[in-house]
Amino acid sequence: MRQLTPYLQKPLVVVGGALSFGWLLIAILAPLIAPYDPLLTLQPLAKPLTQGANGEFFLLGTDMLGRDIFSRLIWGARTVVIYATLATMTAYAFGLIFGLIAGYAGGRTDAVLSFLANVVLSFPVLVLYIVIIVTIGASPVNIVIAVTFSSAPAIFRIVRAITIDVASRDFVRAAITQGESTGRILFVDILPNTTGPLAVDFCLRLGYTAITIGTLGFLGLGLPPPTPDWGGMVNEGRAMAIAFPHLVIFPCIAISSLTLGLSLLADGLREVNEAKERQA
């Protein structure tokens, strides 16, 4: 608990954490919070704060198929939390391992891995997704694969840079002169010293992934309907947004608040890390 104190003193962390963990909680408790089944057709295009014919209450209105937007937003939180986290974590698994190896080994290994990472990073992200999705189709698993493929190189680069920095410190040299094995040097000496900046990057990356999944949904290339997905909701409601702005405004607020929360959290973590470093 004492270790958490410096974080809780930062308003950025508190606001960012509240937004991020708030959505996490909503995602976990979705079945309990959502008033209706997100796929159930109730009454089309009800405005927010209105009563349905059968006495239902539509807090945020309904969409053109008559599904309750509030319930869909809550279930959409679950979609984004599950897939964004899963995709970011698999991307991290690859980026971390290859980044550690390239940063520590250097030389030809590093040159080859870095070149491959640069090749993938030369694609504008959305272009890469489009190529992948056109090839393998838009399914939940494929979205995770696409995100992994496109984010892992960026994570690789960050991990590699941090590894090079940490590996140049004398305590790593000391471990080498003690005859410590490479595996132990990587995972016991170097990895624990990278967690500060990587935690920051993880939060940011989670936000990017949420944005990407949302954007794919918005473009109609994301999770196939009728999965409740914030980006998809904007896409479906766009045609009628002039008459019924609630179709698009609320999902936009939802995704923006989640990604903003993650950015603020990352920012706060970074500030605390920097303050710690200055003290040391």
Binding site: D170, F171, R173, T177
Partner: protein
């Protein structure tokens, strides 16, 4: 006696809440006279740098003047507004800093930076500014003034940069010059030249100079008067003669006692033992540039060989070769008779145990995430000890290097620089090495702590009969600990021999220069 140039009375600077003490500077009273060098001496944390920064109206963030005054030319400097300060800085007070390279703007040429002082404080035509800048550069004894003026800082050496900084500080002939550790980052021979320059300036221009340093050798060379600071207070002030020869305060006495002497101890002649470390014909290049030429070093068990050299001499490259962080172009490095250069994989790992290193930076050499006890025990395990043995050995070593039992469960951040160096020593010794390499291992430490760590090293070395390669830029330190000294210059060994021989009857001109440049040679 003339009026003092600067009169500081009862000056206190408060630290922010939550710091380890309430005041960074407390109740300081002192005068600076024209044509006088006042040295302020103190170890890290003594408040000497905060004091001078406050005098320039540039106290670090969070610090505030809590009382007192600093009067110069009838004005209290502590109450000036930023606008008034701008008139004074650079014109009435000049300042020189510790990191000469970093003190110059990398994107402007030397000429632009010197001339800027005239742009700010004097209404001179362009040609006149340029002419004055050139004259200043000449006065600083810089070679090829025209080339220097057109250069960017990154094209100059550290010593040249410091001369440029001094030229800027002196451009308007300020009455007061504040120099904060101006020679600490320089090599000894360069340091000696810059000190000479500063003395000349005092004599020829009559500047009053506040010179801050931690190095009593430098103080002995340059001070007219000395103020000794500790924990933010001036504990003793007086003429150089008084303070150095007849110190009144215990702390001053302890500081003076801790200065290592240039006179080497008497050492027994070497026995006929086989060398524990035998380096022959070592050559090393970085790219096309050869930095080590045919290096030979032999160290017998129980003996200390110091490698002495300035920056760029290649001494750290030797260390890296010895522990096989990098491999040489050619040569042989034998530990206990076995050439370690050919070894690979597990054979190499097995060999590493026998040759261990103590690093320079006490903050970078310990993994911040690991607890001290297990860290040392791990080294013992790697040398082949069982877990129980290793824990026992680690506990013994902690005691041996003078650390408390409670150190076991703490992380490195909980320790001071000197304590961390002790932990580093314990970790190296846990492997039961035959050869110990100490790469500038005491250079980052305050002088009193330095003396303690040196004593510890010397003691352990004798007791454990270790062969030690001691790498340093500091002749005084080398004099204290070495049996033998090897002088390295530009990658060549220029002189070697028993410490007493090399230090008292140097043969090579470079060795003579080094010894002549050692600050405070006559005083200590």
């Amino acid at each position: 006696m003339s009026e003092p140039l600067l009169h500081i009375r009862d000056l206190s600077v408060a630290l922010p809440k939550g710091a380890d003490r309430p005041f960074a500077v407390k109740g300081v009273t002192l005068d600076v006279n024209p044509a006088e060098i006042l040295c302020i001496v103190g170890e890290s944390g003594s408040g000497k740098s905060v004091l001078t920064a406050t005098l320039m109206g540039a106290a670090p963030k969070g610090l505030s003047v809590a009382g007192g005054e600093a009067v110069m030319g009838g004005r209290n400097l502590l109450t000036l507004t930023e606008r008034q300060w701008r008139q004074i800085r650079g014109k009435d007070i000049g300042m020189i800093f510790q990191e000469p390279m970093a003190s110059l703007n990398p994107a402007l040429t030397v000429a632009q930076q010197i001339e800027e002082v005239f742009e700010l404080h004097a209404d001179l035509p362009k040609a006149e500014r340029a002419a004055r800048a050139r004259k200043l550069v000449e006065e600083m004894h810089l070679p090829e003034p025209d080339r220097i003026l057109q250069s960017w800082p990154h094209q100059l050496s550290g010593g040249q940069c410091q001369r440029v900084v001094i030229a800027m500080a002196l451009a308007m002939s300020p009455k007061l010059l504040i120099a904060d550790e101006p020679t600490t980052a320089l090599d000894v021979t360069t340091q000696a030249q810059v000190l000479k320059l500063i003395r000349e300036l005092r004599d020829s221009h009559g500047h009053g100079i506040i010179f801050i340093t931690h190095d009593l050798g430098v103080v002995a060379d340059i001070a007219d008067r000395i103020a000794v600071m500790r924990h933010g207070e001036v504990v003793e002030i007086g003429t150089a003669e008084q303070v150095l020869k007849h110190p009144q305060h215990d702390y001053t006495r302890a500081l003076i006692a801790a200065v290592p002497s240039l006179v080497p101890h008497d050492r027994p002649a070497p026995g006929a033992a086989e060398p524990a470390l035998d380096v022959t014909g070592l050559n090393h290049s970085y790219g096309a540039k050869q930095v080590l030429h045919d290096i030979q070093i032999a160290v017998a068990p129980g003996r200390v060989v110091s490698i002495v050299g300035e920056s760029g001499s290649g001494k750290s490259t030797i260390a890296k070769n010895l522990i096989r962080l990098i491999d040489p172009d050619s040569g042989r490095i034998a530990v206990a008779g076995e050439d370690i250069l050919g070894l690979k994989g597990s054979a190499l790992r097995g060999m590493r145990r026998k040759i261990q290193m103590i690093f320079q930076d006490p903050f970078g050499s310990l993994n911040p995430r690991r607890r001290v006890g297990p860290m040392i025990a791990r080294a013992a395990v790697l040398s082949g000890a069982s877990r129980a043995e290793a824990a026992g050995r680690a506990r013994e070593l902690l005691e041996l290097v003078g650390l408390d039992r409670s150190a076991w469960n703490r992380r490195p951040a909980a320790f001071s620089g000197g304590q961390r160096q002790r932990i580093g020593i314990a970790r190296a010794l846990a492997m039961r090495p035959d050869v110990l390499i100490a790469d500038e291992s005491v250079s980052a430490l305050d002088v009193s702590v330095q003396a303690q760590v040196l004593d510890l090293l010397a003691d352990l070395q004798k007791r454990l009969s270790l062969a030690v390669v001691f790498i340093t830029h500091d002749l005084r330190v080398a004099a204290q600990i070495s049996d033998e000294i090897v002088v390295l210059s530009k990658g060549h060994v220029v002189e070697r021999g028993p410490a007493s021989e090399v230090l008292t009857r140097p043969q090579h001109p470079y060795t003579r220069d080094l010894i002549a440049a050692a600050p405070g040679r006559d005083a200590f």
